[in-house]
């Protein structure tokens, strides 16, 4: 089984990168691979539990919760989190962590593959 690290640098609702990462990540987990995800820049908006959008049955945050619930390790850049007024990630789904680039560097060090979106 492989260890796949994803980097996500864009937020939800605006571009489709969050969707590609979520669907690829879930497909990888179902196949038994280990998945890590570092959310950088606007990527840190994806793990918020407070998203609301009536047009969609599931909001992006639901997919990131699903990733964590299925064993993915998700770390969000702390500088990016606070720069965006997210108060140390207090609105993130449980299990989505706040950390730093050294955490991402460790993900990359342990990964067989790295995918950036």
């Amino acid at each position: 089984m492989a260890n796949i690290n994803f980097l996500l640098t864009e937020g939800p609702f605006q571009t489709e990168k969050w969707s590609t990462v979520a669907k690829l990540g879930l497909a990888a987990l179902k196949k038994g691979h280990a998945v890590t995800l570092f959310c950088y820049l606007d990527g840190v908006y994806n793990g918020l539990s407070t998203q609301e959008f009536a047009d969609w049955e599931k909001v992006p945050g639901d997919y990131f919760k699903e990733l964590v619930d299925n064993g993915a390790e998700i770390v969000c850049c702390g500088i990016c989190v606070n720069a965006r007024g997210q108060q140390s990630g207090k609105f993130f789904y449980e299990g989505i962590k706040v950390g730093g680039i050294p955490d991402w560097a460790a993900f990359v060090g342990g990964a067989d593959r790295v995918v950036t979106l």
């Binding site: 492989a2 796949i4 489709e16 990168k17 590609t20 669907k23 690829l24 497909a27 990888a28 179902k30 196949k31 691979h33 067989d112 593959r113 790295v114 995918v115 950036t116 979106l117």
Partner: protein, 83 residues
């Protein structure tokens, strides 16, 4: 011998570099499925991205793959990110 993940904004450099790699597999992802890849071998396109955009008939020689297959390809090949 790598897998090139290519989206539209970085396609000019990405496709050109992939052409220099004799064993390259090119995966068109997101808006990358709008690209013309005539003359490039081993081209793949992500099914969901293709179907939503209605471009299946325009893809020429590209093989359409789902996320499960893309995961297998990512595991089997070094990934070069142009997405």
């Amino acid at each position: 011998m790598a897998l090139y993940l290519i989206d539209l904004p970085f396609a000019q450099v990405g496709l050109d570099v992939a052409k220099k790699d004799s064993g390259a597999k090119v995966v068109l992802i997101q808006d990358g499925v709008y690209l013309d890849t005539t003359g490039i071998e081993n081209v793949y396109a992500v099914k969901e991205d293709v179907e939503r955009r209605g471009v299946a008939a325009r893809l020429g020689n590209a093989n359409i793959i789902d996320y499960d297959t893309l995961v297998d390809m990512i595991v089997e090949n070094k990934v070069v990110n142009f997405a």
